[in-house]
Each structure stands twice: as structure tokens, then as C-alpha cells.
């Protein structure tokens, strides 16, 4: 048995406890999220959802193919998803969630749950035989540069972290090696900047021309959080904000 029902903001799957159905359900989820977001879920989210389904089949229903697993995924707000997975088992013992990482080495069974815990925003029990996990689809980090009135506007989106440090460096260097005399880093769509990427910014500030002020570089539209970050690290004295 495999039944699927997709609505505007919700996906419902009811299936027998067959491992083969897990892949099918995963495809369904990918299509659902892609329909809502225009982009597919992250590897981490896929991993967590797969673990939850496998756990329901193998441990919740004890591998009994006649037993049913139900999955409900709801798009509760832009980029935010709630996933409920229900099986016919008694559910996890009290105190099993959240799994403590310190116990991982000794507890053979909780490994999958540890993965779900670290790959989701929140992982909790939701009644007998049911667990709930929350996910946020992170904004893609992109670097777009537009030249306006002799100033290059570099407009990143999402989180500027170590994973995109090289792309970030290239975006800054593209301006530095161009003929455009000044640039601004428009942070209106930036969620956060990690210390590695702050170092990339500082490296730019130390480059010939930028340091002397011959090539003007400034930051604009910092969120209160980013503003705090620049003050805490005292980089507000290095950059024109």
C-alpha cells in the first residue's frame, strides 16, 4: 500500500513498512519542497527525513510490512517545514529526545536519531508512535554585482560563511581588479557573516588602494545583528558603514 496526497502547503504519505517505499517517499518530498521553494531540500534535510522513515519501519513497526507508516510534511511559513512521522509502535521512551551526543558511543540504536537531531532545527516526540522534526530551507548564498554610477554594488544573499568564502573572495577581487573606483557591500539580504569571511573582508581592507582610500569600499544596510557583530569585533573602526 502506498498512498500520496499533495495539497497546497502539505504533503501526506501513507505507506506499508517496505524499505522500497522510502525512496519513493523521498522523491515525493523533494518534489513538494521544490514546488514550494523553487529549490530542492539540502542533503542534511534529506538525510534526516530518510532516517526518520527508516526508524519508523525498522524500529517502530519492527519491520512488519503489514504495519503502516504515515508522513505529513507541512510548509508552515516561508522556507519552514514541519515533518511528522507516525508508526504503529509504542514510540520512543521518555527522555530519549533530544538524544545526547555524549551517549553516542555506547548506544547503538540512537545513532540515526543523533543524525536527525543534528540535521534538523528541532527534533521532538509528538505523542505515542510519533516524532516531529522542524526544518528551515536555508537561502542560497549568491553574489551579484551591479555597477551603479561608478560604484559597484555587491549584493550577497543568505549566509556568508566558510563554505562560500572563496566565492566571496572572488566577488570582492572582481571589483578590486576592475576599473570601477568604489564599491559597497549591500548587506540587506545577508543573514550572517562568519569570522572566516570577516577575515576575507579584512584582507580586502588591507589591500593597496583600499587601505589608502584611493578605492573606496563601504558596507550598507547592516541588520542589527550584523551591526552588533561589527561592533563586537571592533571592525566598525576599520570599515565605513
Amino acid at each position: 500500500m502506498y498512498k500520496v496526497d499533495m495539497e497546497d502547503a502539505g504533503l501526506f504519505v501513507r505507506m506499508s513498512s517496505k524499505l522500497g517505499f522510502v525512496d519513493r517517499a523521498m522523491n515525493e518530498i523533494e518534489a513538494f519542497v521544490e514546488g514550494q521553494e523553487g529549490r530542492i531540500p539540502s542533503e542534511e534535510m534529506n538525510l534526516a527525513v530518510r532516517e526518520l522513515l527508516l526508524n519508523a519501519i525498522e524500529h517502530g513497526n519492527g519491520g512488519d510490512e503489514s504495519k503502516v507508516v504515515e508522513l505529513e510534511m507541512a510548509n508552515v511559513a516561508p522556507s519552514r517545514y514541519r515533518l511528522d512521522v507516525k508508526d504503529e509502535g509504542p514510540g520512543l521512551p521518555a527522555g530519549a529526545l533530544p538524544p545526547r551526543r555524549e551517549l553516542a558511543a555506547t548506544q547503538e540504536r540512537s545513532r540515526g536519531l543523533l543524525l536527525v537531531n543534528s540535521c534538523s532545527d528541532l527534533f521532538e516526540s509528538a505523542g505515542p508512535g510519533m516524532v516531529r522534526a522542524w526544518f528551515t530551507i536555508a537561502k542560497e548564498t549568491r553574489f551579484e554585482t551591479v555597477v551603479e554610477a561608478a560604484e559597484a554594488a555587491i549584493r550577497p544573499t543568505g549566509s556568508i560563511t566558510a563554505a562560500v568564502a572563496e566565492k566571496f573572495r572572488q566577488a570582492l577581487l572582481a571589483w578590486y581588479s576592475s576599473d570601477v573606483p568604489s564599491a559597497r557591500l549591500d548587506c540587506s539580504r545577508v543573514d550572517n557573516i562568519d569570522s572566516i569571511c570577516l577575515s576575507v573582508l579584512v584582507a580586502l581592507a588591507n589591500m593597496e588602494g583600499v587601505r589608502s582610500g584611493a578605492r573606496a569600499f563601504r558596507l550598507t544596510n547592516l541588520s542589527p545583528g550584523l551591526d552588533r557583530l561589527f561592533r563586537l569585533t571592533r571592525l566598525h573602526t576599520t570599515f565605513k558603514i
Binding site: 545526547r100 532545527d121 528541532l122 528551515t136 569570522s195 572566516i196 577575515s199 571592533r234 571592525l235 576599520t238
Partner: protein, 410 residues
């Protein structure tokens, strides 16, 4: 725009030569004059050997001795690259086609006005200037490519060496948090959890003659570069034991060392000097989360207020200093930013709430009555539990307590 261009004007008719020379000179161009084809050829050759070549040759066709078309043919055969403008009075289309084939860049039919001549030359000069610029860009690009490929060779050569260094770095990093077993006059307890094999958190305690100094440092990143800088911090701190610089002076020296290395890594750090002689402690911070002080017998704890620039970024840095008297039983809790950044997701609000320094302050206060070891244990566990045991940074917590015996030293 055209002031650095050199022009060679060749014509056997002196009237025309003078008129054209006057027009060119009026445009601010440097003009040399030849009266015969053979003279022109010699002058081109001499200029090239002198490294001061002509950019443009303007020549008449019909001249005694070496004709203009012969001159062009000879120059091109020798591979001379200057632009050539031919003045022709014949209106002979087949000659014109031949000249173009030889590599003449432009021509003018006689008669023409001074204005037409001036426009034509200006047009050619503009073309020369554009070509020069393009050639310069190509040369720059080639230079950059050449330096890139030589870099690549160096990188490849260094790769095997790098792999073994990487393994060494992992081992070195794992031995970074290696505190002395005992420090006279000071009890301490710490918890540490590294996110990766390589990381940037450092904790060190130097026992001093009359007290101790503590350093917490957090280098940006979790890669080999971070590990390298962390080792640098460690070696500076170990040397400080002998130099006995205070926190501010130590940070100035460390900052210069980091800048000199050109690591471009931001380092935040916290230095605590405990001096039994004066029964005081001094806290200096470099953009690091502030420690939390629990005074013995006080119902609450407090966040130490000080500020300072991060290290490794700018040669000019400044730090404030926080000082307080100490008595046995006073405690200080120090942590890197992984701890206050621990967070949990609130499904109702759809956002993450961080534990923050004030959250740790509350935990310190609520466990203030417990023995040091137990207090550190509880603060550590409560912090992790707050984040559902999820963290995405290195975590480090150190609790220190002024011991009774410190009085004996003073």
C-alpha cells in the same frame, strides 16, 4: 592623448612637407621629416635600434629614388609594425589595392584640405592609442597567467608535503589544550569539545612566581590555516611566561606577530592575570566574549565589562583593562564564543534563540553554591541541553577559583 606618439613625414615636395608639418605640429605631435624614401627607411631603422620607434609613417608615393610603395614594401618585409598612411596623387585604384595588400593602414588622395588631413591623422592616432592599451592589457594578463602557472607548480610540489603537515597539524592541535596538572593558589576545571579534527580554540595557563596567567583564544576557521595560527598563539603565550608582559602588552606583541605572518586570520582572545602579591586580577580582552565573575558570598554573578580590538587584522590595536581585588573563593568563568552562540529553534517564532552571555551568567548564578567541578559540569551540560545537544562551533569552558593557599604567597 596623442602627445607621446612619434610621426615620420616623408615627401620630396618641400611646400607640401612644410604645410603638413605645420598641421601636425599644431596638433601637438612630434614630427620628424624625411625628403626621400631611402632617408625615411634609414630613420625608421635608426629609431628602432635606439628603442624610440616611430608610431606612424606618412609618405607620398611618387618620389625620386625609392618610391613610397617600395618603402612600404621594404618596411613590411622587415616586419616593422608602425602604422602607415600613404598620400597618393594618382587616383590609381590598382596601386591602392597593391598598397593595402602590402600592409598600408590608410591612404589619402591629393588634393585634400588641412582640416581633412588633421582629422585623418587624429583618427589614426586614436587607433594607435587603443592598440597600445590592448597590447598592454594582454601583456599584463600574460604576466598574471605566467605567475599563476608558476604558483600552480609550486602548489603541486608542496602538496605531498602539505598532506604530512596536515596530519602533524591535527596531532598538534589535539595537544593544544594541555594544561598543567596543578597551579599553586588556583583551582580550575574545564570542558572542551572540538567541532573538527582541526580547530581554532586555545586554552593555556602559565603558572607565575606569584600567581598565574590564563589565555583563551579563538582563531577564525576550522582548517589548517586556523590550526597554524593557533600554534603560533600557543608559542607566543608560552614565551610570555618568561617575558611576563601584562595582557595589554602581550596582545600588542601577539598582534604584531600575527600581522607579520600575514595570516589574515581574525583572532579573538582573553587574557587574565591573577596576582597574589597585589591580590588583584586583571582582565584584558581582544574582541572576545567577556568572562563572568562570581564573587564569594554574592547572590548573583556579573559579566566583566571590557573591550578590545580583534588581533591579526590591523597593526594599530587598543584594549581596555578591567581590574578587581580578589579573595579566596572568588570564581571566574571563561568561554569562547561557541558557548554563548549555542542556540535552539523556537517553532512558534520560527527562529533560533541563542544562549548568549547573559544566559551563561544566569547558569553561573544558579550553580554558584556548588563546588567548582560540579558547577562547571552543570553549566556545561545545561548549555548543551539548551541547544538540544547541537552545536556548530568549538566549545570551551573554563572555571577558575582563587584557592585559600594564595594568601600564603602574598
Amino acid at each position: 592623448m596623442t602627445d607621446s606618439l612619434r610621426i615620420l613625414l616623408t615627401d620630396d615636395e618641400s611646400g607640401l612637407r612644410t604645410a603638413m608639418g605645420r598641421v601636425l605640429g599644431g596638433s601637438g605631435l612630434v614630427v620628424d621629416v624625411a625628403t626621400t624614401g631611402i632617408d625615411a627607411w634609414r630613420m625608421v631603422e635608426a629609431a628602432e635600434s635606439a628603442g624610440n620607434r616611430f608610431d606612424l609613417l606618412i609618405t607620398d608615393v611618387n618620389m625620386p629614388g625609392m618610391r613610397g610603395d617600395e618603402l612600404v614594401s621594404k618596411l613590411r618585409a622587415e616586419g616593422r609594425e608602425l602604422e602607415i598612411l600613404v598620400i597618393s596623387g594618382f587616383g590609381d585604384k590598382s596601386l591602392l589595392v597593391d598598397l593595402m595588400r602590402m600592409g598600408v593602414n590608410d591612404y589619402m588622395d591629393k588634393p585634400f584640405s588641412a582640416g581633412e588631413f588633421q582629422d585623418k591623422v587624429a583618427q589614426i592616432c586614436e587607433r594607435i592609442r587603443t592598440k597600445r592599451l590592448a597590447a598592454m592589457r594582454t601583456r599584463n594578463l600574460e604576466g598574471r597567467l605566467a605567475s599563476l602557472s608558476s604558483d600552480l607548480v609550486r602548489y603541486r610540489r608542496g602538496f605531498d608535503e602539505m598532506k604530512s603537515q596536515m596530519e602533524l597539524a591535527v596531532r598538534s592541535y589535539q595537544s593544544l589544550v594541555n594544561l598543567p596538572q596543578e597551579v599553586r593558589g588556583l583551582d580550575f576545571e574545564f570542558r572542551v569539545r572540538a567541532l573538527h579534527d582541526l580547530g581554532g580554540d586555545f586554552l593555556g595557563i602559565n603558572p607565575l612566581k606569584n600567581g598565574a596567567e590564563i589565555l583563551l583564544a579563538d582563531v577564525a576557521g576550522h582548517d589548517m590555516g586556523a590550526s597554524y595560527v593557533t600554534i603560533l598563539v600557543k608559542s607566543f603565550f608560552e614565551n610570555n611566561k618568561d617575558v611576563m608582559a601584562d595582557g595589554e602588552r602581550f596582545f600588542q606583541v601577539l598582534n604584531s606577530g600575527l600581522i607579520e605572518q600575514g595570516a589574515d586570520r581574525m583572532v579573538s582572545a582573553l587574557h587574565v592575570l591573577i596576582d597574589y602579591g597585589s591580590a588583584r586580577m586583571v582582565v584584558t580582552t581582544a574582541a572576545h566574549p567577556s568572562p563572568i565573575l562570581r564573587k564569594l558570598g554574592f547572590p548573583s554573578s556579573s559579566i566583566v565589562e571590557c573591550w578590545g580590538d580583534p588581533l591579526g587584522i590591523s597593526p594599530a590595536v587598543a584594549f581596555s583593562k578591567w581590574e578587581a581585588p580578589i579573595i579566596p573563593g572568588d570564581r571566574l568563568f571563561l568561554f569562547t564564543d561557541g558557548l554563548p552562540s549555542l542556540g535552539k529553534y523556537d517553532p512558534a517564532e520560527g527562529r533560533r534563540r541563542e544562549l548568549s552571555e547573559s544566559g551563561i551568567d544566569r547558569l553561573v548564578a544558579s550553580h554558584r553554591q556548588r563546588p567548582l567541578r560540579e558547577a562547571v559540569d552543570r553549566i556545561w551540560n545545561d548549555s548543551l541541553e539548551y541547544a538540544n545537544f547541537n552545536s556548530n562551533d568549538d566549545l570551551l569552558l573554563l572555571g577558575v577559583e582563587i584557592a585559600e593557599e594564595c594568601h600564603v604567597q602574598g
